[in-house]
Homo-oligomer: 399 residues x 2
Amino acid sequence: MAQFGIPYLLVDARNHHLFQPLLYQVATGFLEAPAVAHPLRSLLKGGRFLLAQVEAVDLKKRHLLLTGGVKCPYQYLVVATGSKPHHLGVPGVTAHTYPLKTLEDALRIRYALLSCLEEAAHKRVPFRVLVVGGGPTGVELAGALAEFLRHVLPRDYPEVPGARVTLLEAGERLLPSFNLGLSRYALRALEHLGVEVRLEAKVAHVSAGWVRLQGGDFVAGDLILWAVGVKGKAPLGLPVDPKGRVPTDPFLRLPGHPEVYVVGDLNGLPWPQLAPVALQQGRHAALNLVRAMQGKEPLPFHYRDRGQLAVIGRHRAVAQMGRLGFYGLPAWLLWALVHLAGLVGFRNRLLVLLDWAYTYFFREPGVRILLQGLAPGGPLHENSLILPVPPRNGPEEPS
Amino acid sequence: MAQFGIPYLLVDARNHHLFQPLLYQVATGFLEAPAVAHPLRSLLKGGRFLLAQVEAVDLKKRHLLLTGGVKCPYQYLVVATGSKPHHLGVPGVTAHTYPLKTLEDALRIRYALLSCLEEAAHKRVPFRVLVVGGGPTGVELAGALAEFLRHVLPRDYPEVPGARVTLLEAGERLLPSFNLGLSRYALRALEHLGVEVRLEAKVAHVSAGWVRLQGGDFVAGDLILWAVGVKGKAPLGLPVDPKGRVPTDPFLRLPGHPEVYVVGDLNGLPWPQLAPVALQQGRHAALNLVRAMQGKEPLPFHYRDRGQLAVIGRHRAVAQMGRLGFYGLPAWLLWALVHLAGLVGFRNRLLVLLDWAYTYFFREPGVRILLQGLAPGGPLHENSLILPVPPRNGPEEPS
């Protein structure tokens, strides 16, 4: 907005921009949290920032209602509150699994991973981790966990007699948005890393320490990660579809409210909930907003699919660009380049490059610090011998 | 111990070694937390590790009592539990000030610093920070805070009309363990950075938002850091002096219990509570322990003072080596070299070097991410507009 001389206010409940595609590396100790986040204030060029939670949008009176009762008027509004993990109606998900959507989620997973390993070492029992969901997040998490355990376990946890990563996918193949050959490659690559992949494994129920599949099988997991299902995270006052997303016209505007734009995962148009879509919608909403202020007609949004990537451990990745699919080292190099370029800020790029180089040469994830008293989700129980695994999701979601 | 073929068990309530001398840079966002910590398990060479809190030592039965009721027998014991911040009898310290001793303390300070700045921006009021204590920790903290504010405030918080760092020292000069010329240089260097230094300012009472000095003056502070006073952190069952330290014989052994060694800040011998003393005592206790197992007489401990260093912002530091004192750029370069060499692990050295280079060239502290829901000291109050400043010290200390 700044380059058009339009004053703006950015309201966010967090003080940082988050580069979500590398979040799984924070969760598994390959990157430190600050490397994938960037302070929003230093990204503002001419705008203002307010650290606050938006509770509701009053479309009639044209103001936001912030937590604490403060009202914040607007002339134009762009809503980009994204999506949040969803339990898909499976009982026990909220209480017993860890999602991966925010930086706090990633640190919670890292904390749980390290705590569970200490506990397994103390009890001299194997460590089992379950990843639910065979999309890019699940595949990348499972691969990174397998690499973490392969490097760290024999050297640092000789008392732990073994470890197993199991990936559960409800459908008949991994990475369903990629072509069939790439799905098969991803399966082979994960199995090469020692991940047990179970296809057509629908989770029916989750409890502490296990999941029950449809069909009746039980699968044990000391740590259960939930990498499937999201729901729109709309402020109150906006109309939402059953998936929690806000329907808009092709110009990304709320029907009946041309002054309100909705972009990213929250937008209910039939585009995939991916970072490239969100980036393009953000730019497009800005374009239409400027056109509206200049009295011009808006332009409809079209997604330009430049392809998708997923990585499965060291040197292995899949890339799909239109009909062209490729895999292995070339896809991995492309993945690394695209993700370094996508990071916000020179410092973060340097940090990530350094961390990757470190892991590459020393074959160990560098970030394995347990912060006691900072157990995410609540203060630490001082009375247990082993650090307790923190609560997973916080309180049960309302719906 | 490993090089002598002696099996050992390392028990620690945390899973990491902490390089305390750079903690103030974590607190002020110049370094990320993982850079000054190293996983203990990867430092063990032939020993074992147990993540547990030691509650008490049973000297008669020769075992440790761990939290949770587990007993852990020993043949020889080395106690190195260090020291913790102490309120020195000043009312309000525990409730209203932040200490800087652990990694969690540093993150708590960083969180409070960023939250206070958001609050000052929201209210458009100046931001005032108080540092109590003119020893190395206080001087280094005040200098780093002044640099943080000088770089970050004008660019990222234009709504904040001003900021002030005040350093309160009870004695008549800063850095009393250095020579007089270096104390004066430190004072000038801090004032050059814009720090207001008040000497002979004894804190009589602390409350939310201000301290009262002996003599009746009130000094306002939105954030109050407590960088003075420590107390030994001995497990129950060990005899302690009034400062909480454990008296030993010159061989670092507990009188009457030659199988128990006490080293570091916890040792009650009249050496200063500094990292070099602790390092030398650790090596010396190992030497005496091996000699005891070989049936040889123990050797008395003598501290070899190789000098001390303190840094005051970019390019400014003081160094004292015996009677020789020097300051400015040479002292700063020596400080940087000594601290890089002292860090544990190649990765941490690289990270710190990178962060310092970044700050040097870009003149901004790189780590300014607020982790919501991870508010140290407790979960975040979801109902306030601005992120609340977390509780400072946890519950009031018993003594």
